[in-house]
């Protein structure tokens, strides 16, 4: 599996560290416990297109949002999470 880093070019996935789903929104600090439970623990875990966070730890060290198919490991895009 190779990830096209927008800063460094296409690299093998062993240069990156995986975090998990990118589509989670952090609740407000005073949000109800249920919102925090959902944010911290519950996941869609789709079979198919998954938007996820990877850090290019052995490259530019930027956090990337990667679109990938979890059934085939095909990577469609990678963009800088902060841009």
């Amino acid at each position: 599996m190779r990830i096209p880093c927008p800063h460094c070019g296409e690299r093998g996935n062993d240069e990156f560290v995986y975090l998990g789903a990118a589509a989670l929104t952090r609740p407000a600090a005073d949000a109800p416990a249920e919102a925090w439970h959902s944010y911290v623990y519950l996941r869609d875990n789709p079979a198919g297109l998954h938007s996820e966070l990877w850090q290019h730890t052995h490259g530019c060290r930027r956090w990337l949002v990667v679109a990938r198919d979890t059934r085939t490991h095909a990577v469609f895009s990678a963009t800088d999470a902060a841009v």
Binding site: Y18, G20, H37, S38, Y41, L42, R43, N45, T70
Partner: protein, 416 residues
């Protein structure tokens, strides 16, 4: 039909013409008293114990493909009960006790072999951690022996004890641990369940649930609608997908775990060995191949195949403790899907939907738990409440904070 010395002799004299299939390939009926979704080890064990312990015989186990064709046939066959936390340890020990009488119980040779599981330690700090775990096990009545280097040398003289980076200082040994033949475990439970009247329905994929008034009514399948007031999900690897059909969102990610088999060699590893400074576990099959594995690949996957960096990592870990295998060739490699739960421990519980039960989140631990998981899940389904043994493996523990995090890694599935 039963298997015995007598039946072997009889069939030998009759030219092996009298054997019948070990279980019926049943067609689904329109309704059952209970349905178990998933014809892997856990699902079949659940069907077996529902019939045996709770007298429910009008039940079915539904499998989307053929039984034992998923993760039951994709693990490294290790059985053990060497956990630290009480909520986990009592369930895995129940499982261990069931393994010990399983073959007589099922009338099927599952090749259960209590050859000992040895976790190596490589530093003083790790020795302390293992001593603590061993003591926790003994407090639960489980066998554990802390070996020093001399003790390990007696068992495995050819290990790389003086490795510059990870010297082997000793190990924690559970002698009752060992291996079992994974396929035969699925076949044995199918055989046992079938003899009690359980329908095992293959090529029957669940495509939806009928739920009304907050209670489950039945399942839509590729072989038609089947009604049942109690439905249990034992579909680890695909749990999120199936549960989503019932509108549930779970604390689980699906990951891929690879395993490997080397070419056959003469007896070398007569127990199960694990590397304490990395993640590597190895045993030797009766055919002579070394069966080994390591970490999950670490990212969400439904692909049943892994990638090269983890292959390399597993091989390096193996070489770190047993350089003697350096010239062995790897014959086969495969990947299986695991439910990585948010705290690294399984879930055997009811769900917010009445009549729908969940058996999931097995991480690396599914195979060894097969009999205990089925036993606990059958109890939970039949009595509509968890048994004491699985009373900590609740679905709501993530909301209440009573998580079971053996590794202390937090809600990061790929680190458990």
């Amino acid at each position: 039909m039963g298997y015995s010395f007598l039946s072997l002799v009889r069939e030998a004299l009759r030219g092996q013409t009298g054997w019948r299939p070990a279980w019926r390939d049943a067609a689904p009926k329109p309704a059952y008293d209970a349905i178990v979704v998933g014809g892997g080890g856990h699902g079949l064990a659940t069907g077996y114990y529902l019939a045996k312990e709770h007298g429910l015989t009008n039940i079915a186990v539904l499998e989307k493909s053929y039984i034992g064709g998923g993760n039951t046939g994709r693990n490294t066959t290790i059985i053990r009960s060497n956990y630290l936390l009480p909520g986990n340890e009592r369930m895995y020990e129940k499982s261990m006790q069931l393994w010990e009488g399983l073959e007589q119980d099922l009338n099927y040779n599952a090749m259960v072999s209590q050859r000992g599981v040895l976790n190596l330690y490589h530093s003083d700090a790790q020795r302390d951690v293992y001593a603590r775990r061993g003591n926790a096990m003994r407090l639960h009545g489980v066998d554990a022996a802390l070996l020093n280097e001399t003790g390990v040398r007696k068992l495995y003289p050819w290990l790389d004890f003086d490795n510059a980076r990870f010297p082997i200082r000793g190990g924690l040994l559970q002698r009752r641990g060992g291996t079992a033949r994974h396929d035969a475990v699925a076949w044995g439970f199918a055989h046992g369940a079938d003899r009690l009247g359980v329908d095992i329905v293959q090529n029957c994929e669940v495509t939806g649930f009928r739920i009304s008034g907050g209670a489950v009514q039945g399942v839509e399948t590729t072989r038609g609608y089947i009604a049942a007031p109690k439905i249990g999900l034992a579909v680890a690897g695909s749990t999120s997908r199936v549960a989503a059909l019932a509108g549930l969102r779970l604390p689980i990610e699906s990951h891929v775990l690879q395993a490997f088999v080397s070419e056959g060699v003469k007896p070398l590893v007569d127990g199960v060995l694990t590397f304490g400074a990395g993640h590597f576990y190895v045993s030797q099959s009766d055919k002579g191949g070394l069966v080994f594995g390591g970490d999950i690949d670490g990212y969400n996957s439904y692909a049943q195949r892994g990638s090269m960096p983890v292959v390399e990592d597993v091989m390096e870990s193996g070489m770190a403790i047993m350089p003697a295998i350096g010239r062995l060739r790897v014959l086969r490699q495969w990947g299986g899907l695991v439910d990585m739960s948010m705290d690294g421990s399984p879930i055997i519980d009811r769900t917010p939907i009445d009549g729908l039960y969940l058996n999931a989140g097995w991480c690396y631990g599914g195979f060894k738990a097969t009999p205990g998981s089925g036993w606990c899940f059958a109890h939970t389904m039949a009595r509509d409440e968890p048994h004491f043994i699985n009373s900590a493996l609740r679905l709501d523990r993530f909301a209440t904070g009573a998580v079971l995090d053996e590794r202390g890694a937090g809600p990061t599935p790929n680190l458990h």
